[in-house]
Each structure stands twice: as structure tokens, then as C-alpha cells.
């Protein structure tokens, strides 16, 4: 099911085209990483999606509707935008209770949501004394208040320590894979999301440069399969005969291009050659990212 749909979205601030004809979708039960360097237009896209910024043209829909038309938005979409959006003199619990009142949710949700992000101990502390990581958790707990099925998070890993990032990864995977939520998470640091996301949308200078699954992105055209075989001398000509490009790396080790692992295995079986290693060589995602976004 398509949870989020961005279609030909465009938004300019003055003469700067922040978002320029971006389209992509996010499906339920998956984590989609929205990646791009700082200033690429990620935040503007998300704010258009959430009705905070009015796009110049195009559409940004959640569950097929514009966010501003949702009767009870927080029960459908949980959003985390900046970590700084709290009144420093207000306690964490009071902050959430205000949102509960505005959304018509029972007040118990406030303490429940704080417990879900591990902030129950500091519920009655003023937010002014919180670390950046605690603020991120508080922001996440506010997104959980309405128990939504769609999550939109803008740079949620900013300011988190390594343990916090690890926690966030697990939490996002849990939301998507165990609870079937659609999660759209933006980041300018690929490493933060690499182990979490199923799909990737890459944007640079307001334009979409790549969309696909993480596997598709990393196994692009020139990726190879490393094969260690008992009888490489027999296998190599057979693979070449089937159309693959074979590079003899060393004795018993081949690099095969232009053929998938299944076909390689089938040919090996036909030739009665034992394969002792089959490794899909992944191209370095960081390299791909930098190439695609023109940062290199």
C-alpha cells in the first residue's frame, strides 16, 4: 500500500529552487531513506508533505490525501522535524499533554509515549536541561502519541551518540517491520541509515537523482560476483560461453560480471564444479552516494 506519495513536487524560495520536480513513493512496512547533502531540499519536501510549507506545484500526499485535510492527523502521521522545537521552561510531560489536548487524545498517552522512548524518568524535568539526544527522543515520543502508521522523520539521528543511533535504528526497524508502519527518514549522513533502510531516495540540488531498493543501488551495473571453485579452469570457459565476463584473479578465484549468482551456480552444477565461495561484491554505498549527489 502506498503510504506516502510525492508527485512532481516543486517549491522555490525567492530565486532558489529548493525542490524541483521530485516524485517518489513510500510503501507500508518499509523504511525509506531520503538522502542528500545539506541544502538538497529534503526538509522542504518533508515540510510540504506535512502542510507546513505550501508547494508551488505538484502534490504531496499521505494515504492519498493532503495532510491539511486529515481530520485527525496525529493518529495517521507521526512527524519529527527539529530537535529544538520545545519551550525550555516546560516539562517533557507537559509538552506532550499539550499535544494530547490539541489532538483530542487521552492524557495517559503522554506518559506512555515517554516510556516508549525511555524518558519516563525525566517526565517532570524541564526540557531546557535536556541533551540533544534526549530532545530527539522527546520529539520521537510526540510522534508516537497518536499511534500512527506513517512516520516522517527529518534527520532524527542528529545529535545522537552512537548508542542512541543504534537504538534509533532498532526502533525504526521495529516500527516498519514488526508494526507494518511506513517510515520515511531523511539524512545527510549515509552511514546513519545504511543499516536501517530498505529503500533509498537520493536528492541533490532539489532534483531526484536515484530511487530504488538498497540492494539495487549497491549492485549497480559494474558489480561483480567473486567465486572460489574447486576447478576454476573448467568453470571459467563455461561461464564465458554463457555470456559472462570472467576475470581470473588468482588460482581458483574468479570475478564474474554480467551474470547473477543463480546462473553461476547452475552452470557450476552442470560442469560438476564445487563452489567454495560465492560473494556478491557490493559497491561502496558511500561512493555511490557521493557520485550521485555530485559531491565528489
Amino acid at each position: 500500500m502506498t503510504a506516502i506519495e510525492i508527485r512532481d513536487l516543486a517549491k522555490s524560495f525567492g530565486s532558489v529552487k529548493a525542490v524541483d520536480g521530485v516524485s517518489f513513493t513510500v510503501e507500508a512496512g518499509s523504511v525509506t531513506g531520503y538522502l542528500g547533502p545539506n541544502g538538497a531540499g529534503k526538509t522542504t519536501t518533508l515540510r510540504c508533505l506535512l502542510g507546513l510549507v505550501t508547494p508551488d506545484s505538484g502534490e504531496a500526499l499521505v494515504d492519498g490525501r493532503r495532510y491539511v485535510t486529515l481530520p485527525q492527523p496525529v493518529t495517521e502521521v507521526g512527524a519529527v522535524l527539529e530537535a529544538t522545537s520545545f519551550h525550555p521552561g516546560r516539562t517533557a510531560l507537559d509538552h506532550l499533554r499539550i499535544l494530547c489536548a490539541a489532538a483530542g487524545l487521552p492524557d495517559e498517552r503522554a506518559s506512555e509515549s515517554l516510556a516508549m522512548v525511555g524518558l519516563a524518568d525525566v517526565a517532570d524535568k524541564r526540557v531546557g536541561g535536556f541533551s540533544l539526544g534526549m530532545r530527539q527522543r522527546l520529539a520521537l515520543s510526540s510522534a508516537l502519541l497518536g499511534r500512527p502508521k506513517i512516520f516522517i522523520l527529518d534527520e532524527p539521528a542528529n545529535g545522537l551518540d552512537p548508542a542512541g543511533i543504534e537504538w534509533l535504528r532498532g526502533f525504526l526497524r521495529h516500527l516498519a517491520h514488526d508494526q507494518g508502519a511506513a517510515v520515511l527518514v531523511s539524512s545527510h549522513v549515509l552511514a546513519e541509515v545504511e543499516q536501517t533502510v530498505d529503500n533509498v531516495v537520493i536528492i541533490a540540488k532539489g532534483r531526484l537523482v536515484r530511487q530504488g531498493s538498497l540492494a539495487e543501488l549497491t549492485t549497480n551495473g559494474d558489480s561483480a560476483i567473486r567465486i572460489r571453485a574447486s576447478d576454476a579452469a573448467t568453470l571459467a570457459p563455461a561461464l564465458e560461453a554463457a555470456g559472462a565476463a570472467v576475470e581470473r584473479v588468482e588460482d581458483g578465484l574468479l570475478r564474474v560480471r554480467g551474470m547473477d549468482a543463480t546462473s553461476v551456480g547452475q552452470i557450476a552444477l552442470d560442469q560438476r564444479v564445487v563452489l567454495t565461495e560465492v560473494t556478491q561484491e557490493r559497491s561502496d554505498l558511500q561512493k555511490v552516494f557521493l557520485e550521485l549527489t555530485g559531491e565528489r
Binding site: 506535512l50 495532510y67 519551550h87
Partner: protein
Amino acid sequence: MIGLVKAEVRKLFTTRLWWIMLLVMLVLIGVNLTFITAFAGVTNEAGGGAALPARDTAEWVQTAWSSGSGGSIFVMILGVVMITSEYRYQTVTGTFLTTPRRRRVIAAKLITGALVGLLFAVVALVVVAAVVIPATLLSGGELSLSESRIPQVSLGILVSTSLYGLFGIGLGALVRNQIAGIVGAVVWAYVIESIFTAIPVLHPVGKWLPGGAAQALMSIDVDTGLGRPEWLPAWGGALVLIGYGLLFAVVASATTVRRDIT
């Protein structure tokens, strides 16, 4: 809408500013009442008439009672802060994510601002009553509701203090900068309105300002030594005040509804 008003009330009462404002208002009204009570009926040495009527007169009760309007500026500041703190701390993002129909947020803020104004006015009136009623009775005066116009002055204070909450919200939505909004409110109330309502030559303009209209609504009819001011009739003052309230409500709504929150 009840939920939204509840949220706005919580926003106000979960931070400290409201009781600071309430405290300052009480101090100001207290100082004012002390002055009015201490110098009541005191004639100056040059042999002229007393600047303030004597404590046992209905005129003194009316003058003292009107000091209950001292809460307006503080309610206005709270109104300014109700809007500007949302921008200052970017809580406006969460507010509009929860309630994307922004007009409803503004409406809830206006209702809350008026309610807070009402609350402050009631507190002010209780304090005023606690001082003025014993003071005039102990001085041998009689408390006549009709002669001292207590009901009308009280009503004027309640209505005008409430509406100053709306003025603050409108001003806050217009400037969005907290310091600019508060300074603007103070300058407006203590400088511009004071000048236009205190100097007789400027009364033709001053009577159309919110402060002048509030005076008209209270129908304060006491010569302060600068000549008897020519206010609008009480109903005219009420209409002008409500007009300002609507104007600021429209300003608050128009400046907020389509703005990009970045």
C-alpha cells in the same frame, strides 16, 4: 475547539510568565491604590482644590475602582507571548502538525487570550474591592452602587482587559518577534495611548484608540485637572473596542494561515 482551547490554556499555565505578569499587575494596582487612598482629598498648599476627591465620596470610589484596569497591559503582553513564543521556540511546528487547520489554532488562542484577560480582570477587581470598600466605609462614606458606578466600571474593566488579550495576539502574529512585540505593546499602552488620552487637545484622536474606548466604556467622569475628557458614549466605546478586537483577530488569522513554516 474545546481541546484546542485546553491546549492553549495548558501552554500558558505550564510556563512561568503568567504568574509573573499577575504578580506585577497586583503590585502596580497596589501602588496605584495606595497613592489614590493616601492622597484622597488632600488639598495642595497653593490653596487650590484637591487633586483627588475625598475618600467618603462616590467620585473617589469610582476613581479608585477604575485602577482595576491596570491589568490590560499585562494581558496584552501575555497575548503577544502566546503567539511569539511559538515562533521563538519553534513549537509552532508541532502546533500546526497537530492542528493543520491554522485558523482553528488562532481562534483557540483568541478565546484563551480573552479568558485570561477575564481572569486577570476578576483578580484585579477582587483586590480593588478589598481595598476600596473598607477604605470608603471607614472614612464615613456610603457605598452606593449607582452613584459610584461600580457595576459599569467593573464591566468596562472586564471587557477591555479581555480584549487587550486579543490585541496582544494580533500584535504578536503581526511582528512574530517576541521582544519587538512586547516593546510594541508597552510603548503603545504607556506612551502612545497615555499621550493621546491625557492631553486634551489630542482627545479627538485619543477617544478612538483602545485605551480611550475603554475609558468610555467605564464612563469615568472625574476631572483629573487637565480638563474633563470628552469620551465616546459607553456603547460607542464598547463598539470601538469590539471593532479593534475583530481587527486584531483578522490580522492574526491573515498573517498566519498561509505562511510557510520553515
